[in-house]
Protein backbone atom coordinates (compact mmCIF):
# COMPACT_ATOMS: atom_id res chain seq x y z
CA UNK A 1 0.00 0.00 0.00
CA UNK A 2 2.64 2.54 1.06
CA UNK A 3 4.80 1.49 -1.85
CA UNK A 4 1.93 2.18 -4.17
CA UNK A 5 1.32 5.67 -2.76
CA UNK A 6 5.04 6.31 -3.06
CA UNK A 7 5.15 5.50 -6.78
CA UNK A 8 1.92 7.41 -7.18
CA UNK A 9 3.32 10.56 -5.63
CA UNK A 10 6.55 10.14 -7.58
CA UNK A 11 4.66 9.87 -10.84
CA UNK A 12 2.57 12.85 -9.80
CA UNK A 13 5.63 15.03 -9.30
CA UNK A 14 7.02 13.88 -12.66
CA UNK A 15 3.74 14.94 -14.27
CA UNK A 16 3.90 18.26 -12.47
CA UNK A 17 7.37 18.92 -13.77
CA UNK A 18 6.35 18.05 -17.32
CA UNK A 19 3.30 20.29 -16.85
CA UNK A 20 5.47 23.20 -15.80
CA UNK A 21 7.84 22.72 -18.71
CA UNK A 22 4.99 22.73 -21.23
CA UNK A 23 3.32 25.74 -19.60
CA UNK A 24 6.54 27.73 -19.55
CA UNK A 25 7.37 26.88 -23.16
CA UNK A 26 3.78 27.73 -24.14
CA UNK A 27 3.95 31.04 -22.27
CA UNK A 28 7.17 31.97 -24.02
CA UNK A 29 5.60 31.20 -27.41
CA UNK A 30 2.54 33.15 -26.38
CA UNK A 31 4.58 36.14 -25.27
CA UNK A 32 7.05 36.32 -28.17
CA UNK A 33 4.73 38.30 -30.46
CA UNK A 34 4.12 40.87 -27.69
CA UNK A 35 7.74 41.15 -26.70
CA UNK A 36 8.78 41.47 -30.30
CA UNK A 37 6.16 44.14 -30.91
CA UNK A 38 7.40 46.09 -27.88
CA UNK A 39 11.01 45.62 -28.84
CA UNK A 40 10.41 46.80 -32.41
CA UNK A 41 8.42 49.78 -31.23
CA UNK A 42 11.61 51.15 -29.61
CA UNK A 43 14.00 50.11 -32.34
CA UNK A 44 15.94 51.63 -35.13
CA UNK A 45 14.22 50.27 -38.28
CA UNK A 46 17.51 48.79 -39.46
CA UNK A 47 17.32 46.16 -36.71
CA UNK A 48 13.75 44.99 -37.23
CA UNK A 49 14.63 42.44 -39.88
CA UNK A 50 18.18 41.81 -38.81
CA UNK A 51 19.91 38.52 -38.38
CA UNK A 52 21.03 37.84 -35.64
CA UNK A 53 17.96 39.00 -33.76
CA UNK A 54 18.33 42.11 -31.64
CA UNK A 55 15.96 41.64 -28.70
CA UNK A 56 16.91 44.66 -26.62
CA UNK A 57 16.70 47.80 -28.76
CA UNK A 58 20.00 49.60 -29.18
CA UNK A 59 19.73 52.54 -29.49
CA UNK A 60 16.53 52.76 -27.46
CA UNK A 61 14.27 55.14 -29.42
CA UNK A 62 11.44 56.65 -27.41
CA UNK A 63 11.16 58.99 -30.35
CA UNK A 64 9.37 56.25 -32.34
CA UNK A 65 6.31 56.91 -30.21
CA UNK A 66 6.61 60.66 -30.70
CA UNK A 67 6.89 60.12 -34.47
CA UNK A 68 3.93 57.75 -34.52
CA UNK A 69 1.93 60.32 -32.58
CA UNK A 70 2.89 62.96 -35.12
CA UNK A 71 1.72 60.86 -38.03
CA UNK A 72 -1.47 59.56 -36.51
CA UNK A 73 -3.69 61.82 -34.39
CA UNK A 74 -3.87 59.38 -31.49
CA UNK A 75 -5.53 61.76 -29.07
CA UNK A 76 -8.34 62.41 -31.53
CA UNK A 77 -8.76 58.73 -32.47
CA UNK A 78 -8.67 57.68 -28.84
CA UNK A 79 -11.29 60.28 -28.03
CA UNK A 80 -13.46 59.09 -30.95
CA UNK A 81 -13.11 55.46 -29.89
CA UNK A 82 -13.88 56.34 -26.27
CA UNK A 83 -16.98 58.27 -27.33
CA UNK A 84 -18.37 55.31 -29.26
CA UNK A 85 -17.29 52.75 -26.69
CA UNK A 86 -18.65 54.56 -23.64
CA UNK A 87 -21.96 55.58 -25.20
CA UNK A 88 -22.64 52.08 -26.50
CA UNK A 89 -21.58 50.63 -23.17
CA UNK A 90 -24.14 52.82 -21.41
CA UNK A 91 -26.73 51.72 -23.96
CA UNK A 92 -25.96 48.05 -23.41
CA UNK A 93 -26.08 48.34 -19.62
CA UNK A 94 -29.44 50.10 -19.53
CA UNK A 95 -31.20 48.09 -22.22
CA UNK A 96 -29.80 44.64 -21.46
CA UNK A 97 -30.45 44.87 -17.73
CA UNK A 98 -34.01 46.07 -18.29
CA UNK A 99 -34.78 43.42 -20.91
CA UNK A 100 -33.17 40.69 -18.80
CA UNK A 101 -35.28 41.85 -15.85
CA UNK A 102 -38.39 41.62 -18.01
CA UNK A 103 -37.58 38.08 -19.08
CA UNK A 104 -36.55 36.92 -15.62
CA UNK A 105 -39.15 38.54 -13.38
CA UNK A 106 -42.24 39.64 -15.28
CA UNK A 107 -45.08 37.42 -16.49
CA UNK A 108 -46.55 38.25 -19.85
CA UNK A 109 -48.03 36.22 -22.68
CA UNK A 110 -45.50 34.90 -25.19
CA UNK A 111 -42.55 35.49 -22.90
CA UNK A 112 -40.99 32.08 -23.30
CA UNK A 113 -41.46 32.03 -27.06
CA UNK A 114 -39.87 35.47 -27.31
CA UNK A 115 -36.95 34.27 -25.23
CA UNK A 116 -36.39 31.42 -27.66
CA UNK A 117 -36.55 33.95 -30.50
CA UNK A 118 -33.90 35.96 -28.67
CA UNK A 119 -31.65 32.92 -28.37
CA UNK A 120 -32.09 31.97 -32.00
CA UNK A 121 -31.19 35.45 -33.26
CA UNK A 122 -27.73 34.75 -31.89
CA UNK A 123 -27.37 32.19 -34.67
CA UNK A 124 -27.93 34.74 -37.43
CA UNK A 125 -24.61 35.93 -38.89
CA UNK A 126 -24.28 39.71 -38.81
CA UNK A 127 -23.46 39.67 -42.53
CA UNK A 128 -27.08 38.87 -43.39
CA UNK A 129 -28.35 42.13 -41.93
CA UNK A 130 -25.24 44.19 -42.67
CA UNK A 131 -26.23 45.54 -46.09
CA UNK A 132 -29.86 46.44 -45.24
CA UNK A 133 -28.64 48.08 -42.04
CA UNK A 134 -26.17 50.09 -44.07
CA UNK A 135 -28.95 51.18 -46.39
CA UNK A 136 -31.32 52.04 -43.53
CA UNK A 137 -28.73 54.06 -41.63
CA UNK A 138 -27.65 55.83 -44.81
CA UNK A 139 -31.28 56.72 -45.57
CA UNK A 140 -31.59 58.20 -42.07
CA UNK A 141 -28.59 60.40 -42.85
CA UNK A 142 -26.42 58.55 -40.33
CA UNK A 143 -23.61 57.69 -42.72
CA UNK A 144 -20.28 59.05 -41.49
CA UNK A 145 -21.69 59.61 -37.99
CA UNK A 146 -21.27 57.48 -34.89
CA UNK A 147 -24.98 56.79 -34.60
CA UNK A 148 -24.92 53.42 -36.45
CA UNK A 149 -22.24 52.28 -34.03
CA UNK A 150 -24.04 53.52 -30.91
CA UNK A 151 -27.81 53.42 -31.36
CA UNK A 152 -28.11 49.61 -31.83
CA UNK A 153 -26.50 49.19 -28.39
CA UNK A 154 -29.54 50.84 -26.86
CA UNK A 155 -31.60 47.93 -28.15
CA UNK A 156 -29.54 45.37 -26.30
CA UNK A 157 -27.46 42.46 -27.47
CA UNK A 158 -28.97 38.95 -27.23
CA UNK A 159 -25.84 37.46 -25.71
CA UNK A 160 -25.66 40.02 -22.90
CA UNK A 161 -29.40 39.79 -22.24
CA UNK A 162 -29.07 36.02 -21.98
CA UNK A 163 -26.12 36.36 -19.61
CA UNK A 164 -27.93 38.81 -17.31
CA UNK A 165 -31.17 36.85 -17.39
CA UNK A 166 -29.34 33.68 -16.33
CA UNK A 167 -27.75 35.66 -13.51
CA UNK A 168 -31.10 37.09 -12.38
CA UNK A 169 -32.59 33.59 -12.27
CA UNK A 170 -30.07 32.69 -9.56
CA UNK A 171 -31.14 35.62 -7.32
CA UNK A 172 -33.87 34.56 -4.89
CA UNK A 173 -37.22 36.29 -5.34
CA UNK A 174 -37.87 36.94 -1.64
CA UNK A 175 -36.44 40.46 -1.66
CA UNK A 176 -38.38 41.72 -4.63
CA UNK A 177 -41.58 40.01 -3.53
CA UNK A 178 -41.27 41.64 -0.11
CA UNK A 179 -40.76 45.00 -1.77
CA UNK A 180 -43.81 44.42 -3.94
CA UNK A 181 -45.93 43.73 -0.87
CA UNK A 182 -44.63 46.99 0.60
CA UNK A 183 -46.01 48.69 -2.50
CA UNK A 184 -42.88 49.09 -4.61
CA UNK A 185 -43.51 49.65 -8.32
CA UNK A 186 -41.93 47.53 -11.04
CA UNK A 187 -39.51 50.31 -11.80
CA UNK A 188 -38.48 50.56 -8.14
CA UNK A 189 -37.96 46.81 -7.90
CA UNK A 190 -35.73 46.93 -10.97
CA UNK A 191 -33.86 50.06 -10.05
CA UNK A 192 -33.38 49.66 -6.31
CA UNK A 193 -33.47 45.94 -5.65
CA UNK A 194 -32.30 43.95 -8.63
CA UNK A 195 -29.98 46.38 -10.41
CA UNK A 196 -27.65 46.66 -7.39
CA UNK A 197 -27.59 42.88 -7.05
CA UNK A 198 -26.70 42.44 -10.71
CA UNK A 199 -23.44 44.34 -10.32
CA UNK A 200 -21.03 41.42 -10.88
CA UNK A 201 -22.88 40.32 -14.03
CA UNK A 202 -23.05 43.94 -15.23
CA UNK A 203 -19.29 44.17 -14.75
CA UNK A 204 -18.88 41.18 -17.05
CA UNK A 205 -21.19 42.72 -19.62
CA UNK A 206 -19.31 46.03 -19.39
CA UNK A 207 -16.02 44.36 -20.10
CA UNK A 208 -17.29 42.42 -23.10
CA UNK A 209 -19.20 45.42 -24.46
CA UNK A 210 -16.12 47.58 -24.07
CA UNK A 211 -14.01 44.99 -25.83
CA UNK A 212 -16.56 44.63 -28.62
CA UNK A 213 -16.66 48.36 -29.39
CA UNK A 214 -12.96 48.96 -28.92
CA UNK A 215 -11.96 46.06 -31.16
CA UNK A 216 -14.67 46.59 -33.79
CA UNK A 217 -13.23 47.08 -37.23
CA UNK A 218 -15.91 46.18 -39.77
CA UNK A 219 -18.48 48.62 -38.29
CA UNK A 220 -16.29 51.74 -38.44
CA UNK A 221 -14.90 50.60 -41.80
CA UNK A 222 -18.36 50.52 -43.32
CA UNK A 223 -20.03 53.49 -41.64
CA UNK A 224 -17.26 56.08 -41.26
CA UNK A 225 -15.68 58.09 -44.02
CA UNK A 226 -13.96 61.31 -42.88
CA UNK A 227 -10.42 60.84 -41.53
CA UNK A 228 -11.23 63.04 -38.53
CA UNK A 229 -13.89 60.58 -37.38
CA UNK A 230 -11.73 57.46 -37.45
CA UNK A 231 -11.50 55.12 -34.51
CA UNK A 232 -8.19 53.69 -33.33
CA UNK A 233 -8.69 50.42 -35.21
CA UNK A 234 -9.53 52.26 -38.41
CA UNK A 235 -6.71 54.75 -37.83
CA UNK A 236 -4.23 51.93 -37.40
CA UNK A 237 -5.38 50.42 -40.67
CA UNK A 238 -5.03 53.75 -42.48
CA UNK A 239 -1.63 54.25 -40.88
CA UNK A 240 -0.47 50.91 -42.23
CA UNK A 241 -1.75 51.83 -45.67
CA UNK A 242 0.29 55.02 -45.66
CA UNK A 243 3.48 54.00 -43.91
CA UNK A 244 3.59 50.26 -44.50
CA UNK A 245 7.34 50.05 -44.36
CA UNK A 246 7.86 51.97 -41.14
CA UNK A 247 7.50 48.97 -38.89
CA UNK A 248 8.89 50.69 -35.82
CA UNK A 249 6.20 53.37 -35.93
CA UNK A 250 3.54 50.84 -36.81
CA UNK A 251 4.50 48.73 -33.78
CA UNK A 252 4.49 51.79 -31.54
CA UNK A 253 0.99 52.56 -32.80
CA UNK A 254 -0.18 48.96 -32.31
CA UNK A 255 1.16 48.97 -28.77
CA UNK A 256 -0.80 52.10 -27.97
CA UNK A 257 -3.99 50.62 -29.44
CA UNK A 258 -3.61 47.43 -27.37
CA UNK A 259 -2.69 49.16 -24.13
CA UNK A 260 -6.16 50.14 -22.84
CA UNK A 261 -7.40 46.57 -23.27
CA UNK A 262 -4.40 45.18 -21.43
CA UNK A 263 -5.04 47.56 -18.55
CA UNK A 264 -8.72 46.67 -18.44
CA UNK A 265 -7.87 42.99 -18.52
CA UNK A 266 -5.49 43.31 -15.60
CA UNK A 267 -8.05 45.24 -13.54
CA UNK A 268 -11.08 43.15 -14.49
CA UNK A 269 -9.60 39.68 -15.00
CA UNK A 270 -12.13 38.17 -12.62
CA UNK A 271 -15.11 39.47 -14.60
CA UNK A 272 -13.65 38.43 -17.93
CA UNK A 273 -13.34 34.89 -16.70
CA UNK A 274 -16.72 34.87 -14.98
CA UNK A 275 -18.45 35.91 -18.20
CA UNK A 276 -16.78 33.19 -20.20
CA UNK A 277 -17.70 30.63 -17.58
CA UNK A 278 -21.37 31.54 -17.61
CA UNK A 279 -21.57 31.53 -21.39
CA UNK A 280 -19.59 28.36 -21.89
CA UNK A 281 -20.70 26.01 -19.20
CA UNK A 282 -24.27 26.96 -18.52
CA UNK A 283 -24.90 27.98 -22.12
Amino acid sequence: MSKQTLTQSASRSVWRTIGYVILIVGSVISLIPFLWMLSCSFKDPAYIFSNPVQWIPKPWLWSNYAKAFERMPFALYTWNTMEITILSLIGQLISCSLVAFGFARMRFPGRDVLFIVLLSTMMLPAQVTMIPEFKIFAALGWYDTYLPLIVPSFMGAPFFIFLLRQYLMTIPREMDEAARIDGASTWQVYRHILLPQMKPALATVSIFAFMGSWNDFLGPLIFLDSPAKRTLALGLYAFQGQYAVDWNYLMAASTVVMLPLLIIFIIGQKYFIQGVVVSGVKG
Binding site: F34, M155, L261, V276
Partner: protein, 303 residues
Protein backbone atom coordinates in the same frame (compact mmCIF):
# COMPACT_ATOMS: atom_id res chain seq x y z
CA UNK B 1 -67.58 48.96 -18.94
CA UNK B 2 -65.87 45.64 -18.31
CA UNK B 3 -65.98 44.15 -14.93
CA UNK B 4 -62.45 43.17 -13.96
CA UNK B 5 -61.35 41.38 -10.86
CA UNK B 6 -58.37 42.93 -9.08
CA UNK B 7 -56.29 39.85 -9.95
CA UNK B 8 -56.83 40.10 -13.69
CA UNK B 9 -56.19 43.83 -13.51
CA UNK B 10 -52.86 43.14 -11.82
CA UNK B 11 -52.03 40.51 -14.39
CA UNK B 12 -52.75 42.91 -17.20
CA UNK B 13 -50.64 45.64 -15.61
CA UNK B 14 -47.78 43.18 -15.17
CA UNK B 15 -48.05 42.08 -18.81
CA UNK B 16 -47.94 45.67 -20.05
CA UNK B 17 -44.98 46.45 -17.83
CA UNK B 18 -43.26 43.27 -18.94
CA UNK B 19 -43.56 44.28 -22.57
CA UNK B 20 -42.28 47.76 -21.68
CA UNK B 21 -39.23 46.17 -20.06
CA UNK B 22 -38.34 44.13 -23.11
CA UNK B 23 -39.38 46.87 -25.55
CA UNK B 24 -35.81 48.04 -26.33
CA UNK B 25 -35.01 44.55 -27.56
CA UNK B 26 -38.38 44.19 -29.31
CA UNK B 27 -37.79 47.42 -31.24
CA UNK B 28 -34.31 46.21 -32.14
CA UNK B 29 -35.69 42.86 -33.20
CA UNK B 30 -38.14 44.56 -35.50
CA UNK B 31 -35.87 47.21 -37.02
CA UNK B 32 -32.43 45.65 -36.80
CA UNK B 33 -33.21 41.97 -37.30
CA UNK B 34 -36.59 41.02 -38.76
CA UNK B 35 -36.86 44.03 -41.08
CA UNK B 36 -33.29 43.77 -42.38
CA UNK B 37 -33.61 39.99 -42.77
CA UNK B 38 -36.62 40.39 -45.06
CA UNK B 39 -34.99 43.35 -46.81
CA UNK B 40 -31.79 41.37 -47.25
CA UNK B 41 -33.62 38.48 -48.88
CA UNK B 42 -35.42 40.87 -51.23
CA UNK B 43 -32.14 42.58 -52.15
CA UNK B 44 -30.63 39.18 -52.87
CA UNK B 45 -33.19 38.78 -55.64
CA UNK B 46 -31.97 41.93 -57.38
CA UNK B 47 -29.05 43.50 -59.10
CA UNK B 48 -28.32 46.65 -57.13
CA UNK B 49 -25.38 49.05 -56.90
CA UNK B 50 -27.05 51.32 -54.28
CA UNK B 51 -26.94 54.22 -56.74
CA UNK B 52 -29.43 53.19 -59.43
CA UNK B 53 -32.69 51.52 -58.55
CA UNK B 54 -32.54 47.75 -58.07
CA UNK B 55 -33.37 45.39 -60.93
CA UNK B 56 -35.25 42.20 -60.13
CA UNK B 57 -33.32 39.11 -61.25
CA UNK B 58 -35.14 36.37 -59.34
CA UNK B 59 -32.81 33.65 -58.14
CA UNK B 60 -30.22 34.76 -60.70
CA UNK B 61 -27.62 35.76 -58.13
CA UNK B 62 -27.88 32.39 -56.40
CA UNK B 63 -27.63 30.58 -59.73
CA UNK B 64 -24.52 32.53 -60.73
CA UNK B 65 -22.89 31.98 -57.36
CA UNK B 66 -23.44 28.25 -57.38
CA UNK B 67 -22.96 27.52 -61.07
CA UNK B 68 -20.09 29.72 -62.15
CA UNK B 69 -18.36 31.82 -59.59
CA UNK B 70 -14.83 30.59 -59.18
CA UNK B 71 -14.09 33.00 -56.35
CA UNK B 72 -17.16 31.92 -54.36
CA UNK B 73 -16.01 28.29 -54.54
CA UNK B 74 -12.50 29.33 -53.66
CA UNK B 75 -13.66 31.40 -50.67
CA UNK B 76 -15.83 28.55 -49.43
CA UNK B 77 -12.93 26.13 -49.85
CA UNK B 78 -10.48 28.44 -48.03
CA UNK B 79 -12.90 28.99 -45.17
CA UNK B 80 -13.79 25.29 -44.86
CA UNK B 81 -10.14 24.19 -44.86
CA UNK B 82 -9.38 26.84 -42.28
CA UNK B 83 -12.30 25.66 -40.11
CA UNK B 84 -11.50 21.96 -40.52
CA UNK B 85 -7.87 22.41 -39.50
CA UNK B 86 -7.82 25.34 -37.08
CA UNK B 87 -10.87 24.30 -35.04
CA UNK B 88 -9.74 20.74 -34.14
CA UNK B 89 -6.14 21.87 -33.62
CA UNK B 90 -7.29 24.74 -31.45
CA UNK B 91 -9.58 22.37 -29.57
CA UNK B 92 -6.74 19.99 -28.73
CA UNK B 93 -4.34 22.77 -27.75
CA UNK B 94 -6.81 24.64 -25.60
CA UNK B 95 -8.00 21.47 -23.86
CA UNK B 96 -4.41 20.40 -23.19
CA UNK B 97 -3.57 23.82 -21.73
CA UNK B 98 -6.72 23.79 -19.61
CA UNK B 99 -5.86 20.35 -18.23
CA UNK B 100 -2.36 21.53 -17.35
CA UNK B 101 -3.75 24.60 -15.62
CA UNK B 102 -6.24 22.41 -13.78
CA UNK B 103 -3.39 20.54 -12.07
CA UNK B 104 -3.36 23.28 -9.39
CA UNK B 105 0.17 24.29 -10.18
CA UNK B 106 1.61 27.44 -8.66
CA UNK B 107 1.28 30.52 -10.83
CA UNK B 108 -1.88 29.20 -12.44
CA UNK B 109 -3.45 32.67 -12.54
CA UNK B 110 -0.42 34.14 -14.26
CA UNK B 111 -0.30 31.37 -16.89
CA UNK B 112 -4.02 31.71 -17.44
CA UNK B 113 -3.64 35.45 -18.07
CA UNK B 114 -0.70 34.97 -20.43
CA UNK B 115 -2.63 32.48 -22.56
CA UNK B 116 -5.90 34.38 -22.50
CA UNK B 117 -4.69 37.89 -23.35
CA UNK B 118 -4.03 37.25 -27.09
CA UNK B 119 -7.69 36.26 -27.47
CA UNK B 120 -9.05 39.64 -26.33
CA UNK B 121 -6.81 42.09 -28.21
CA UNK B 122 -7.96 44.17 -31.20
CA UNK B 123 -7.69 41.85 -34.24
CA UNK B 124 -6.39 44.73 -36.29
CA UNK B 125 -3.42 45.38 -34.00
CA UNK B 126 -2.76 41.64 -33.71
CA UNK B 127 -2.74 41.38 -37.51
CA UNK B 128 -0.13 44.14 -37.75
CA UNK B 129 2.15 42.30 -35.35
CA UNK B 130 1.82 39.00 -37.22
CA UNK B 131 2.38 40.71 -40.53
CA UNK B 132 5.78 41.66 -39.21
CA UNK B 133 6.49 38.25 -37.64
CA UNK B 134 5.60 36.54 -40.92
CA UNK B 135 7.94 38.68 -43.01
CA UNK B 136 9.31 36.23 -45.55
CA UNK B 137 12.80 37.63 -45.87
CA UNK B 138 14.08 38.21 -42.41
CA UNK B 139 11.04 38.15 -40.17
CA UNK B 140 11.71 36.87 -36.70
CA UNK B 141 9.92 33.55 -37.30
CA UNK B 142 12.26 32.73 -40.16
CA UNK B 143 15.30 33.88 -38.22
CA UNK B 144 14.31 31.66 -35.28
CA UNK B 145 13.63 28.75 -37.64
CA UNK B 146 17.04 29.36 -39.16
CA UNK B 147 18.57 28.79 -35.72
CA UNK B 148 16.96 25.33 -35.79
CA UNK B 149 18.46 24.84 -39.27
CA UNK B 150 15.07 25.00 -40.93
CA UNK B 151 14.92 26.73 -44.30
CA UNK B 152 12.99 30.02 -44.37
CA UNK B 153 9.26 29.66 -44.97
CA UNK B 154 7.66 32.04 -47.50
CA UNK B 155 4.59 32.50 -45.16
CA UNK B 156 2.08 34.99 -46.54
CA UNK B 157 3.77 35.38 -49.92
CA UNK B 158 3.15 31.86 -51.23
CA UNK B 159 -0.13 30.23 -52.14
CA UNK B 160 0.92 27.09 -50.28
CA UNK B 161 1.85 28.70 -47.00
CA UNK B 162 -0.53 31.65 -46.73
CA UNK B 163 -3.50 29.72 -45.34
CA UNK B 164 -1.35 27.64 -42.94
CA UNK B 165 0.04 30.97 -41.70
CA UNK B 166 -3.48 32.05 -40.76
CA UNK B 167 -4.06 28.73 -39.01
CA UNK B 168 -0.85 29.18 -37.06
CA UNK B 169 -1.94 32.67 -36.08
CA UNK B 170 -5.33 31.36 -34.94
CA UNK B 171 -3.57 28.97 -32.56
CA UNK B 172 -2.14 32.00 -30.80
CA UNK B 173 -5.71 32.76 -29.70
CA UNK B 174 -6.50 29.37 -28.13
CA UNK B 175 -6.70 31.04 -24.72
CA UNK B 176 -10.37 31.86 -25.26
CA UNK B 177 -11.31 28.20 -25.58
CA UNK B 178 -8.93 27.27 -22.80
CA UNK B 179 -10.78 29.45 -20.28
CA UNK B 180 -14.06 27.71 -21.13
CA UNK B 181 -12.52 24.23 -20.81
CA UNK B 182 -10.92 25.21 -17.53
CA UNK B 183 -14.33 26.14 -16.14
CA UNK B 184 -15.73 22.85 -17.44
CA UNK B 185 -12.92 20.85 -15.86
CA UNK B 186 -13.37 22.57 -12.54
CA UNK B 187 -17.01 21.62 -12.44
CA UNK B 188 -16.26 17.88 -12.71
CA UNK B 189 -16.97 16.44 -9.23
CA UNK B 190 -13.82 15.07 -7.60
CA UNK B 191 -15.71 12.04 -6.25
CA UNK B 192 -15.87 10.71 -9.81
CA UNK B 193 -12.08 10.66 -10.02
CA UNK B 194 -11.82 9.14 -6.56
CA UNK B 195 -14.19 6.31 -7.35
CA UNK B 196 -12.42 5.73 -10.67
CA UNK B 197 -9.15 5.43 -8.73
CA UNK B 198 -10.71 2.89 -6.39
CA UNK B 199 -11.70 0.91 -9.45
CA UNK B 200 -8.03 1.00 -10.45
CA UNK B 201 -8.26 3.43 -13.33
CA UNK B 202 -5.00 4.92 -14.58
CA UNK B 203 -4.48 8.51 -15.76
CA UNK B 204 -5.43 7.74 -19.35
CA UNK B 205 -8.57 5.83 -18.49
CA UNK B 206 -9.62 8.52 -16.01
CA UNK B 207 -9.23 11.06 -18.82
CA UNK B 208 -11.01 8.83 -21.32
CA UNK B 209 -13.88 7.67 -19.11
CA UNK B 210 -14.40 10.51 -16.63
CA UNK B 211 -13.01 13.79 -17.94
CA UNK B 212 -14.01 13.51 -21.59
CA UNK B 213 -17.65 12.51 -21.04
CA UNK B 214 -18.09 15.09 -18.29
CA UNK B 215 -16.80 17.98 -20.39
CA UNK B 216 -18.30 16.80 -23.67
CA UNK B 217 -21.03 19.51 -23.61
CA UNK B 218 -18.26 22.12 -23.30
CA UNK B 219 -16.40 20.54 -26.21
CA UNK B 220 -19.55 20.73 -28.32
CA UNK B 221 -20.03 24.39 -27.37
CA UNK B 222 -16.45 25.26 -28.32
CA UNK B 223 -16.71 23.26 -31.51
CA UNK B 224 -19.81 25.11 -32.68
CA UNK B 225 -18.48 28.52 -31.63
CA UNK B 226 -15.17 27.71 -33.33
CA UNK B 227 -16.82 26.82 -36.63
CA UNK B 228 -19.01 29.92 -36.53
CA UNK B 229 -15.94 32.01 -35.67
CA UNK B 230 -14.01 30.54 -38.62
CA UNK B 231 -16.75 31.62 -40.97
CA UNK B 232 -16.51 35.18 -39.62
CA UNK B 233 -12.78 35.75 -40.21
CA UNK B 234 -12.46 39.16 -41.78
CA UNK B 235 -10.15 41.78 -40.30
CA UNK B 236 -6.99 39.67 -40.42
CA UNK B 237 -7.34 38.64 -44.06
CA UNK B 238 -8.49 42.14 -45.04
CA UNK B 239 -5.40 43.72 -43.51
CA UNK B 240 -2.74 41.09 -44.05
CA UNK B 241 -3.32 39.69 -47.53
CA UNK B 242 -6.49 41.15 -49.09
CA UNK B 243 -7.25 37.53 -49.95
CA UNK B 244 -4.05 36.86 -51.85
CA UNK B 245 -1.79 35.57 -53.14
CA UNK B 246 -3.93 34.15 -55.94
CA UNK B 247 -7.05 34.01 -53.71
CA UNK B 248 -5.35 31.54 -51.37
CA UNK B 249 -6.63 33.45 -48.31
CA UNK B 250 -9.90 34.71 -49.74
CA UNK B 251 -12.05 34.10 -46.65
CA UNK B 252 -15.79 34.03 -47.16
CA UNK B 253 -16.66 37.26 -45.36
CA UNK B 254 -13.82 39.06 -47.11
CA UNK B 255 -15.25 38.04 -50.48
CA UNK B 256 -18.69 39.14 -49.31
CA UNK B 257 -17.30 42.50 -48.19
CA UNK B 258 -15.50 42.98 -51.51
CA UNK B 259 -18.70 42.35 -53.43
CA UNK B 260 -20.72 44.74 -51.30
CA UNK B 261 -18.40 47.64 -50.66
CA UNK B 262 -15.76 47.43 -53.38
CA UNK B 263 -17.70 46.19 -56.43
CA UNK B 264 -21.01 47.60 -55.11
CA UNK B 265 -22.83 44.37 -55.97
CA UNK B 266 -25.32 44.56 -53.12
CA UNK B 267 -27.73 41.93 -54.42
CA UNK B 268 -24.93 39.49 -55.02
CA UNK B 269 -23.46 40.17 -51.57
CA UNK B 270 -26.84 39.60 -49.90
CA UNK B 271 -27.18 36.28 -51.72
CA UNK B 272 -23.70 35.37 -50.47
CA UNK B 273 -24.78 36.29 -46.93
CA UNK B 274 -27.79 33.99 -47.16
CA UNK B 275 -25.65 31.14 -48.42
CA UNK B 276 -23.29 31.80 -45.51
CA UNK B 277 -26.21 31.57 -43.12
CA UNK B 278 -27.37 28.28 -44.65
CA UNK B 279 -23.87 26.80 -44.51
CA UNK B 280 -23.44 27.78 -40.85
CA UNK B 281 -26.91 26.49 -40.02
CA UNK B 282 -26.28 23.19 -41.80
CA UNK B 283 -22.93 22.67 -40.09
CA UNK B 284 -24.39 23.51 -36.69
CA UNK B 285 -27.33 21.13 -37.11
CA UNK B 286 -24.97 18.42 -38.36
CA UNK B 287 -22.77 18.82 -35.30
CA UNK B 288 -25.76 18.84 -32.97
CA UNK B 289 -27.06 15.66 -34.57
CA UNK B 290 -23.67 13.96 -34.50
CA UNK B 291 -23.21 15.10 -30.91
CA UNK B 292 -25.98 12.79 -29.70
CA UNK B 293 -23.56 9.89 -30.00
CA UNK B 294 -20.72 11.47 -28.05
CA UNK B 295 -22.04 14.24 -25.83
CA UNK B 296 -23.07 13.14 -22.41
CA UNK B 297 -25.59 15.16 -20.42
CA UNK B 298 -25.71 14.51 -16.72
CA UNK B 299 -29.44 15.12 -16.61
CA UNK B 300 -29.99 12.09 -18.88
CA UNK B 301 -28.93 9.82 -16.05
CA UNK B 302 -31.46 11.31 -13.70
CA UNK B 303 -34.40 10.56 -16.01
Amino acid sequence: MRNETPISKMRRKEAIEGFLCISPWLIGLLFLTVGPVIFSFLISLTKWDMINSPQFVGLGNYATIIADDFRFRQSLRVTLIYAMVSVPLGLICSLALAMLLNMNLKGMRLFRAIFYIPAILPPIAVSMVWLMLFNAENGILNVLLGKLHIAPVPWLTSTEWALPSFILMSLWGVGGGMIIYLAGLQSVPTQLYESAEIDGAGSWSKFRHVTLPMISPTILFNLIMGIIGSFQVFASSFVMTQGGPAYSTLFYVLYLYQNAFMYLKMGYACALAWILFLVILALTLLMLKASKSWVYYESELRK
